[in-house]
């Protein structure tokens, strides 16, 4: 599956950063970046960047083949609760042992390759998560 280069490029900020919408009206946070609060509908929102750390809520494993990332299978797809309080679906990589994937596992965001059009095409980068190298104090 070939990506649209222009769509990916326009959206690159959302691939490179975890941008959270904080509502100044109701005080709730949401993900991804939105112009309107999904809880109260207010447009009085600000966008803040997550520090990229959180804990694993749960995960599943997919064997679904997508062109350009076949060599990355199988993939662990997790739900991560960021330290800022919002939940983000994301790929979890560098898992030494599936039995270590338990709710509450500390994780951190890393830049990785999502896929590549072909050996001559564009490489698409974005954030995934790994088990945290530095543990919380």
């Amino acid at each position: 599956m070939k990506h649209s280069i222009s769509i990916f490029w326009r959206d690159r900020e959302n691939h490179y950063k975890l941008l959270i919408t904080k509502c100044r009206n109701c005080g709730k946070s949401s993900y991804p970046k939105l112009k309107r609060c999904p809880y109260c509908g207010s447009t009085n929102v600000e966008v803040v960047e997550s520090k990229g750390r959180g804990t694993l809520v749960n995960y599943t494993i997919t064997y679904f083949r997508v062109d350009g990332s076949e060599a990355m299978l199988p993939k662990v797809i997790g739900l991560v609760k960021l330290d800022e309080g919002v939940k983000v679906p994301a790929e979890i990589v560098d898992v030494p042992d599936l039995s270590s994937l338990k709710p509450g596992l500390e994780v951190e965001a890393v830049l990785r390759k999502y896929s590549s059009d072909d050996p001559h095409g564009l490489i698409y980068y974005g954030l995934k998560f790994i088990p945290s190298i530095i543990k919380k104090q």
Partner: protein
């Protein structure tokens, strides 16, 4: 102090070593090498980048934590240099991807540098010059490589993956201040990779005396003469590490005892990370050094050239070490893979794609 590096230093540093390791004895056994070959060059295992990692992703991680350790806003970085000989794109800079992903100012210099394993050291020299002249406040030099080696080549025992980044800035904010920098380069055909070639070639024994040893000895001797220092004035000495043996040999030739070299060794446990090799050694030493101690670091790049740098550690180092993963933590975080998994990760298997 040399005029080349007035009032500049290392404000922050970051490192990255992939999770996966391949034992060198497995490579030696597969390709029918003498069983003692790995021991003879002191290489126990090497780091292997995952299938979704490359010089850009590893460089991003190291640079991110260089900024964290320095406590510097990415918007204040005025130059980003990426030293690599494994650029994901032959044409399209790695530095712009890393800078944009980290939120570094768009008003900056950004370029990829190539000089085999010493391009990132040249990036440090460029950043030092820019900071020293007042052109920028902070400059970032990143060394990142997924080192290539033809399957079955003796180079495959050591060629590995890793990254390191140094944030250069004002001396008053630095964990280590530059005292002097010298560079020695010549046209020496010890190691090369032609346009379109997937793997590098090397001049066998020619990589030793006329290349590695001659250039490092020359750059270090020039530095010692320029600063009026002796090997005994240094607490640590770090040399480029194509294997575990060469840095000890070149140190002995220059008069540095083994005890001053081994704290900065990384290659026996992660392999030769090319542009990150000696500089990961510097990062490892910064994580144990005490204020007032003096460090010599001498990267080397084939083709060939060597930079020698003298740094004096400040008291600011103490509270910055544990703001990011240490080299020791990254070395100890590992999972062993088979040669087949390594071949898949490093794209050594020919298959139909696209």
């Amino acid at each position: 102090m040399s005029r080349c590096c007035v009032k500049t230093g290392v404000v922050g540093w970051g490192a990255y070593i992939p999770l996966y390791r391949l034992r060198s004895k497995e490579i030696a056994s597969l390709w029918g090498f003498d069983p003692n070959v790995a021991d003879s060059i002191w290489i126990e295992e090497k780091s292997v980048a995952s299938v979704d990692e490359d010089a850009i992703t590893m460089g991003w991680y190291a640079a991110k934590y260089a900024l964290v350790r320095g406590g510097v806003n990415p918007e204040d970085v005025g130059a980003v240099f990426v030293g690599t000989e494994s650029k994901p794109y032959a044409v399209k800079p790695s530095s712009t991807v890393i800078a944009d992903a980290l939120g570094i100012s768009r008003k900056k210099l950004a370029t990829d540098l190539e000089f085999a394993c010493r391009a990132a050291a040249e990036g440090i020299r460029l950043a030092v010059a820019l900071v020293s002249s007042g052109s920028i406040k902070y400059g970032l030099s990143i060394g990142s490589d997924t080192a290539q080696a033809s399957p079955g080549d003796v180079l495959e025992l050591t060629a590995s993956s890793g990254a390191v980044a140094f944030l250069i800035g004002p001396a008053e904010e630095s964990v280590a201040v530059f005292e002097g920098l010298t560079t020695y380069v010549t046209d020496t055909p010890d190691f090369w990779r032609r346009e379109g070639s997937k793997y590098p070639s090397h001049g066998e024994g020619f990589t030793g005396e006329p290349a590695y040893f001659h250039h490092i000895i020359s750059s270090v001797t020039m530095l010692l003469e320029e600063l009026g220092l002796k090997p005994s004035d240094f607490d640590y000495a770090i040399f480029h590490q194509p294997n575990g043996k060469f840095p000890l040999q070149v140190g002995r030739a220059l008069g540095f005892p083994k005890e001053k070299i081994t704290p900065g060794l990384v290659t026996p446990w992660i392999g030769n990370t090319y542009n990150a090799s000696a500089l990961l050694g510097l990062a490892k030493v910064l994580e144990i050094a005490k204020p007032g101690q003096r460090i010599l670091v001498a990267p080397f790049g084939s083709g060939a050239g060597s930079d020698a740098m003298s740094l004096v550690v400040t008291d600011k180092v103490l509270d910055r070490v544990h703001k990011a993963p240490t080299v020791e933590e990254l070395i100890n975080r590992k999972k062993y893979v088979s040669y087949a998994e390594y071949a898949k990760s490093r794209n050594l298997i020919l298959r139909n794609v696209g």
